[in-house]
């Protein structure tokens, strides 16, 4: 008790938590939909009504109301701040989402992308007024080519899957230039879903290559599928089981001997930067997820950026536009007519690609330097193996107890008979304050749990993470199923009904009719 008569120490522990009137729980505050709190006549942007003038809209002026609600500025801040607090981010805690590379996002990169000289320039300004932008693009290209050992890079693809599309288009264009039309693309069954989807989008028939018992692709199996009708193989390396494809050179040789191309999915390039160059492994095209390896923020699912490095065989087919740096300086090639002997495959998108991401990636690379980037790859691999070492006696490794690359893959064999599924285990991790690992991917492993800690975790953080997962694993084995089946208990929402969402989709807010309001 202080002198005001205000108690300053808790009196006694309360054993049950009382309900609240609002449904809020202190800092965890429920938030209504914009359409339930906003009003069409309210605006948070002060603008002066223009003086009277004669419109030039023909007879196409909008007459009926749109129905868009508005919020004042304070209401806006509160709405989105509350929503943000229902999200888990890298800055919240360990985010070991395998294959997604949730590494630290340096804020310097955000600051650099917002320099007016980068953030406030228009893609169609005369080139003479944006030489620094073209130089940055040329410099990013140089770094990406050096790190991958490839002679060229197409920067415009807007995401990893868009990069795959670009690389596979270049392959298709190169085959066409040879006067060939091939109809099959080989994809290992451990691949990301984007690989077969990309191949199918371009009209290819996808042939699946089964991985061998050690989780990698067997060159003998590839050879069985190769023929003069195979356009390419799409191979992820390091692969989605977290393993380096140790026979990659033999696979590349076999593919080239059949007149096909080697597309590498570079989603996991972050494991090998400074350790080995894809160009030395026979790769013809590989996309690089700038949002993974070079840490441009994931932003809740985008925007990404997916530059594609290309071999000498594919470089002439790179899409427009691109920047050339030579003795004469840096210049932009925007049209096929300016491309000289090159045969650009066309355009992947409007403008120059994800410039904002180029700046962030460049800032990341400059900060790390060649030594820092190699160290980052080594630490990422070290951290994953440290987690493997800490959990391998309790959880099951599908491909034996060898080293992994930047991510470690467990299956659910160790959960047999416990009544706990991979999904339950993941949801229980949420209650422990962790974002779950990637689950049920890759498909080649039953109940997969793919853990990628990244280089951004400290040893202390990993020690606690491993201890927490060990505690959960032991609880599962002891049969404490309640801790799992109902999880998460402490998240902003309990488990959500996805079946209901898909069966009768509600994809937008609609104004409740007066009758249904009365019924409530």
């Amino acid at each position: 008790m202080n002198r005001q008569g205000r108690p300053t120490a808790p009196i006694e522990a309360v054993s049950t938590t009382p309900r609240t009137f609002t449904g809020n729980r202190a800092l965890r505050i429920e938030e209504a939909l914009l359409f339930e709190i906003g009003r069409p006549e309210v605006t948070g942007v002060d603008l002066d009504e223009p003086a009277a003038f004669t419109p030039r809209l023909g007879n196409l002026e909008r007459t009926a109301p749109i129905g868009l609600p508005g919020l004042s500025e304070p209401e806006t801040l509160r709405h989105y701040v509350r929503l943000s607090r229902m999200n888990y981010g890298i800055d919240t805690g360990v985010f070991p989402l395998g294959s997604c590379t949730m590494k630290h996002n340096p804020r310097l990169n955000e600051k650099m992308a917002r320099l007016p000289g980068f953030g406030d320039i228009h893609p169609l300004q005369p080139a003479s007024t944006v030489p620094g932008a073209l130089e940055l693009i040329a410099e990013l290209s140089r770094w990406l080519c050096e790190l991958t050992g490839m002679p060229a890079v197409a920067l415009t693809p807007k995401a990893g899957a868009h990069g795959e599309l670009c690389g596979m288009m270049a392959i298709k264009a190169a085959l066409a230039a040879r006067g060939e039309k091939r109809s099959v693309v080989l994809v290992p069954d451990s691949a990301h879903g984007t690989n077969p989807a990309t191949a199918a989008l371009l009209g290819y028939r996808v042939e699946s290559i089964a991985v061998r018992p050690d989780g990698t692709v067997d060159p003998a199996e590839v050879k069985k599928h190769l023929s003069s009708d195979v356009a390419a193989i799409m191979l992820t390396n390091p692969n989605t089981c977290g393993l380096f494809e140790r026979d990659v050179s033999a696979i590349a040789e076999a593919v080239h001997a059949a007149g096909a191309y080697f597309y590498a999915d570079g989603a996991n390039f972050n494991a090998i930067v400074g350790k080995v160059r894809p160009g030395d492994l026979g790769v013809d095209a590989m996309h690089i997820n700038l949002h993974k390896t070079f840490s441009t923020p994931h932003g809740g699912g985008g925007p990404g950026a997916g530059p594609v490095v290309l071999s000498a065989a594919l470089a002439p087919f790179a899409p427009l536009p691109y920047v050339i740096a030579d003795a004469g300086g840096v210049r932009l090639v925007a049209h096929a007519g300016d491309a000289g002997k090159a045969k650009p495959l066309g355009r992947m998108c409007a403008f120059h690609g994800q410039m904002g991401m180029f700046v962030r990636a460049m800032s990341y690379m400059l900060a790390h330097g060649s030594d820092g980037m190699r160290q980052a790859s080594e630490d990422a691999v070290l951290n994953a193996n440290y987690v493997r070492a800490g959990l391998k006696d309790l959880m099951s490794l599908p491909f034996g107890d060898g080293p992994c690359m930047h991510e470690v893959l467990f299956d659910d064999a160790w959960l047999d008979g416990t009544g706990v599924s991979t999904l339950d285990f993941a949801k229980a991790m949420i209650d422990e304050g962790y974002h779950p690992m990637t689950v049920y991917f890759p498909l080649v492993v039953h109940g997969a749990m793919l853990i990628e800690p990244t280089e951004s975790e400290s040893k202390a953080s990993l020690d606690l993470f491993v201890a927490a997962l060990r505690d959960l694993a032991l609880a599962a084995k002891r049969g404490e199923t309640d801790r799992f089946s109902g999880a998460p208990y402490y998240a902003p929402r309990r488990r959500l009904d996805e079946t209901r969402a898909a069966r009768s989709p509600v994809l937008r807010w609609v104004k409740p009719s007066p009758r249904s309001e009365a019924a409530e």
């Binding site: 605006t43 007879n59 129905g67 620094g132 355009r347 309990r494 509600v506």
Partner: protein, 448 residues
């Protein structure tokens, strides 16, 4: 290195715990003859100050839109972005989160995407919208493939006044996916006959309004003709602010509306990242590309949101997916929805009126410059002028006079000679009376 928490002692301890002698034992699967022995031939690590110096020098060589009278548009527009937008999108929980695959701890993202989908559907006059595409151009190319799936036909008719980059994006994807198209020639005067190009082979008609030269189009007769031929109408909007003032494509009969959303909430950023809007009718929802957020309840009956209808998507369907797309424009989507929530209907309508008013004023002023002709009868915030001589030269000379006067049509579209004397000019709320006067002065100077 400041981003890497492990110390040398940590590393030694961890290697010992793993049971290997050195870090390279963990890379043993890489063929020994391919492993790099030296560091890549690139500079070493840099401090923040050094990085800022290097990138600051490059940035300083460029002319920011905000530093000069600025009238460049054609699919990317200089608008004012309220300060709170950029503050909010940089909150860690938004910036550093992932695709909401674990909905219990991603309700923030899912909630705003549900609101975004609703806003886009309302604005475009459609029933449903997805959680966004990479940008307007790729959304257009995906819309064409979607129309092929729905109509089971293979030929797209592309209006001549579709933004040339959009046209080329559609052409590239169509060619590569073995579909055909009929691309009409540009008509900078706006007198294009799209109806004549539609026949029973047509799967879809792609029409932009306002078009790349600024003309507005009544989509109703095109929708009617398309529907009679069993084709879909895809409406393209590259300046989304126009929908604050102009009738929505949905109201005029479009089946799919795709748009570039950059104008609301997103910086110019030399062309990306931007945000593609994609809306359609309920009956086509299962043929849509991209992510969708749906409403549901949790185990306690509380309203919540999840990604839904993902059986369309590549991670479930693999080669049978509707698209290979795997991301949306997350953070750009957030910027869009925050800015639009701030504007509300009242603010958006006023913003659109200001844009239109500024364009009308500018068009009238430029049309009085000797030798200059405004081609448009209708426009929103962008119109086309004919200048005596080579427009690419004129735009360069204007830039030297300190005015960014627009886009030379022949620089944008590497084709027809009749574009060589045309400049597409955009006006927005950022332009002042002084900016317009500076443009008139500079153009008069350059043309004499």
């Amino acid at each position: 290195m400041r981003y890497l928490p492990l110390t040398p002692d940590d590393r030694s301890e961890m290697l010992a715990r793993i049971g290997v002698a050195g870090i390279d034992d963990l890379f043993a699967d890489i063929p020994a003859d391919k492993r790099l022995t030296a560091l890549p031939d690139l500079p070493r690590t840099k401090s923040e100050i050094e990085v800022e110096r290097v990138l600051g020098r490059l940035a300083a060589k460029n002319t920011p839109a905000g530093s000069v009278p600025f009238f460049v548009g054609c699919g990317a527009y200089k608008h004012h972005i309220p300060a709170s937008v950029d503050h909010l999108i940089q909150r860690s929980e938004f910036l550093t989160s992932y695709t909401p695959y674990q909905p219990e701890i991603a309700q923030g993202t899912l909630h705003y995407l549900f609101e975004f989908q609703t806003q886009v559907a309302m604005l475009t006059g459609m029933e449903v919208a997805n959680a966004s595409m990479y940008d307007g151009s790729t959304a257009t190319a995906e819309a064409v493939l979607m129309a092929h799936r729905i109509t089971r036909k293979k030929t797209a008719v592309i209006a001549g006044n579709l933004h040339p980059h959009y046209r080329e994006t559609v052409q590239t994807l169509s060619r590569m996916s073995e579909h055909s198209f009929v691309a009409l020639s540009p008509r900078p005067d706006g007198a294009e006959d799209i109806l004549a190009a539609i026949d029973n082979e047509t799967s879809c008609v792609v029409v932009q309004t306002p078009d790349v030269y600024g003309h507005l189009h009544d989509l109703r007769p095109i929708a009617e003709k398309a529907h009679a031929a069993g084709a879909l109408l895809i409406a393209v909007v590259t300046e989304i602010v126009s929908l604050g003032l102009v009738e929505s494509p949905g109201q005029m009969g479009a089946d799919i509306v795709v748009a570039e959303g950059q104008s609301i909430g997103n910086a110019l950023s030399f062309g990306g990242p931007y945000v593609g809007l994609f809306a359609t009718r309920q009956k086509y929802v299962r043929q849509m590309p991209g992510r969708l957020v749906g409403e549901t309840v949790d185990a306690e009956g509380k309203r919540g949101f999840v990604l839904t209808l993902s059986t369309r998507e590549q991670h479930i369907r693999r080669e049978k997916a509707t698209s290979n797309i795997c991301t949306n424009s997350g953070l750009c989507t957030l910027a869009f929805t925050i800015h639009l929530s701030l504007l509300g209907e009242a603010g958006l309508r006023r913003l659109a009126r200001i844009n239109h008013a500024n364009a009308v004023k500018l068009a009238d002023m430029l049309s009085r410059v000797k030798g200059v002709q405004v081609l448009n009868k209708t426009f929103f915030n962008e119109f086309t002028i004919r200048v005596p001589g080579d427009a690419i030269d004129v735009v360069h000379q204007l830039a030297r006079e300190g005015v960014q006067g627009g886009v030379a049509a022949a620089a944008l579209d590497d084709g027809p000679r009749e574009l060589r004397d045309l400049i597409v000019v955009a006006a927005t709320e950022v332009n002042t009376e002084e900016d317009r006067a500076a443009y008139v002065r500079a153009l008069t100077e350059v043309l004499t």
